[in-house]
Amino acid sequence: MSSRPASEAPLLALEGVGVTVATGGATLVEDVSFTLGAGESFGIVGESGSGKSTTVRAIIGLLPPSLNASGRILFAGESIAGAGEARLARLRGAGIGMVFQDPLAALNPVMTVGRQIAEALRWHGRLDPTARRRRTTEVMRLVGLPEPERLAASYPHELSGGQRQRVALAIALACAPRLLLADEPTTALDVTIQDQILRLLDELRRSLGMALVLVTHDLGVIARVCERVAVMYGGRIVEEAPVARLFAAPAHPYTRMLLDSIPQGPRTLHPLAPIPGRPPDPAHRPPGCGFAPRCPRASSACAERPPPWRAHTASGGFACLHPLLARAPAHA
Amino acid sequence: MSAATTVGTIGRRLPRNLVLGAFLLAAWVVLATCGPLLLGSPSAMDLLHALRPPSLTFPFGTDNLGRGIFTRVVWGAHIDLEIGLFTVLPAFFIGSTLGLLAGYFGGVIETVVMRLVDIAVAFPFLVIVIAIVAVLGPGLGNMYIAVAMVGWVSYARITRAETLLAKRLEYAEAARLLGLPDRRVLLRHLLPNVIPQAVIYASSDVILGIFLGSSLGFLGLGAQPPSPEWGLIIADGYSFVDRAPWISAFPGLAIVLLAISFSLFGDGLADLLRPETRR
């Protein structure tokens, strides 16, 4: 759905991906589509409950059994949606890696850090123990952990928050995956550490040529690391654009309000404008645009049907009947 | 905030297993009280019909002295029900009181009580009860004394913990600030809110009491022959396991069924009281 040069096949492609709750049918994610090329960094931003984490978990097949996924997911040209557990297990770690939000919860408390990293290698490679140890220290150095040989023998509770997230990264990167999914990787960290980890992610992406999908609720994080970004609301993508343009000239009213709600300086000059209301309940979603009840530009047409996706002239697109654009673009 | 009003408000929403358990227990009580009236003596011997398998005249078979096991089991019902009660009630009262006092007043009282608890807990319960009964002499009465001496510990621990929690809640502080005497605070305000946990524990402790009592009967230290206490009947039947397994099997089944009845009742009671005790 986003226009991109057709010469290179995308590394990751989602087409009409949806996630529903098995019993009751509440919809958490609906009709999500985007593509990602090798080495690209793509951000997904939205409030909590917007379905961004769920989407990303659907890619790697880590949804809880109470949820059902639908739609097409292609990795390196092959369909992986609904793939068998064995195939997914082979893919995880080696092709697609993932880091999660809470680094303390993400690490096994009773296993040394080094063993947790080496375990990924054991199950994907044919390295012998010595080579595994070497690779472990190598990847620990890569993520910026000091004294890897000594640190490898420690337990997660002996490390700081930043160190733990680096370990989680090391685990995900041990087998050099081509795609890294990061679900709010810095949210649980101190502000000073956040910056370090983001810089690390950026460096790693460039040096390893790895694609990155970064999920966050923080637009500041997006600005730092991502090339393109999709804005999710109520389980759908409402806008997708290159980062610079999203910040300078957002098309969707929700994006505009998100930007306005970021503190940008002294409050007297830039008063905070929180968005009134709350996101739609997945169990009772309105027939029309999910944002309509909170949107200052909404009309009666907005509440009837979900707005269709319209491609932007440059790249990306949006789903809105009344976008904030100087002139109306051509319909897709 | 007494327990009576909270039950009143639950009304029709009584948990299923509570109702079922209560019904079963009522049935047991009826059996225990009325059964013996309808049957012959449990000691009636009939040597011509010794060691007979279950039949119409002897639904549970007979033992080596020709006594009907069915008759004996029914007569024994009230003994084992009493065992359940008398092993739990003294321990419940002593332990809850000590626990309440220890939790409320703290200080020396608490230290002394908790030290006693630590020591009592160190012993395997059955072993110390056996030891005390050995010293005092076998018999149900001495068994009740022995259990009371050691069994209060669990109740003390529970009520002390609950008291410590409840003490800090506002209504207790308010009552104290109003200048109410300690006794009033304890009895009217703390006790009704602290006791439900102990009651729940007691309902499952009854089962353990019955097991303990019948175990002691089995070992010859509890009820004495010719009492038709179930553990005693099982012990008698042991040597006939190959020839007449029904002698031991049926009383055992009775114990299991009684335990299940109490278990259902206790679980139901816990379900009923738990939402109210969690503030």
Partner: protein, 313 residues
């Protein structure tokens, strides 16, 4: 960490003292002259006088207690007239079978509880889970002597595989003969461990590191056994430790049922023969045994959970 172990051993002292006091007072509960009571039917005036001197019965009670402790420290548990030997000797010969039975029961408990708990947690709310939980409820609700009886009936009489009683000679024979007794205890104990394991497994499986493990590409079985289980086992072991008192108590009944020549049987027999010194000694030994096993369980926790290690360092 050594300091922690030493500290725990030191904390045992008041409990041990308490145990000795209780045991000491036990015999004093019997009305009449303690010396005469202890000698039982062998009481002659000379022996009674000697015993009175030995126990210091004309001294104040607390001095008697100290004398009692002094004897204990020297390994002198007294003399059994019924068996005709020093009680310390008696206790030693009967200690072996009881220890083997306890260890065997623990092993069988784990053998039953671990797979069952795993199954119930993984197949949560499905048929297997319900079956396991019903089994657990039944298992706790059966008195041990009845379980013993049913096992004898089924596996020793109806289908004669195992012996009805006894201990056998030689270690392999011990293991075979003790299977039914150990199983009896395990049937009572396993449900408790199983329930704790199921609960802690469900909690572990909902933790974040399970996501990480799966995101690494580990097969489901490895995630369950290599990540969830090592974390879940600690509370289950704790529950096992909490019920050691119950376990030791059960051995008394089980030894009687299956005629295993252990401490429990010694105690019951001695009650019949009014051999009070033996009763005293066995109570003491069993009490100390429970305390030691509790300590061992705490140390196991240290071994299994590195976070506990750090807390005590």
């Amino acid at each position: 960490m050594i300091r922690y172990i030493l500290r725990r051993l030191v904390m045992l002292v008041p409990v041990a003292v308490g145990i000795t006091m209780v045991v000491f007072l036990l015999v004093r509960l019997i009305p009449g002259d303690p010396a005469r009571t202890l000698l039982g039917i062998h009481a002659t005036p000379e022996l009674v006088a000697a015993m009175r001197a030995h126990l210091g019965l004309d001294r104040p009670l607390w001095v008697q207690y100290l004398i009692f402790v002094r004897h204990l420290a020297a390994g002198d548990f007294g003399h059994s007239y019924y068996y005709g030997e020093a009680i310390s000797q008696l206790v030693l010969t009967h200690l072996g079978p009881t220890l083997v039975l306890i260890a065997y029961s623990v092993v069988l408990t784990l053998v039953i509880a671990l797979p069952a708990g795993l199954l119930a947690a993984v197949r949560r709310d499905q048929a297997a889970d319900h079956l396991v939980r019903i089994g657990a409820v039944v298992g706790v609700g059966l008195p041990s002597y009845w379980i013993g009886f049913m096992l004898i009936l089924l596996l020793a009489v109806t289908i004669p595989i195992f012996p009805v009683a006894g201990y056998g000679t030689g270690f392999p024979s011990h293991l075979f003969d003790l299977f039914l007794p150990a199983l009896t205890i395990a049937i009572n104990l396993a449900p408790l461990v199983l329930r704790a394991l199921r609960a802690s497994l469900m909690e572990a499986l909902a933790s974040g590191y399970i996501d990480t493990a799966r995101a690494k590409g580990l097969p489901r079985r490895v995630v369950l056994l290599g990540h969830a289980l090592p974390n879940a086992i600690v509370p289950a072991v704790t529950v096992l430790g909490l019920n050691i008192g119950y376990l030791v108590g059960s051995t008394v009944i089980v030894e009687t049922v299956f005629a295993v020549p252990g401490l429990g049987q010694l105690m019951i027999n001695s009650i019949g023969t009014r051999d009070y010194p033996v009763i005293q000694a066995v109570t003491l030994v069993l009490g100390v045994l429970v305390v030691l096993v509790n300590l061992a369980t705490d140390l196991m926790q240290l071994l299994l959970d590195p976070r506990v290690r750090r807390e005590v360092a």
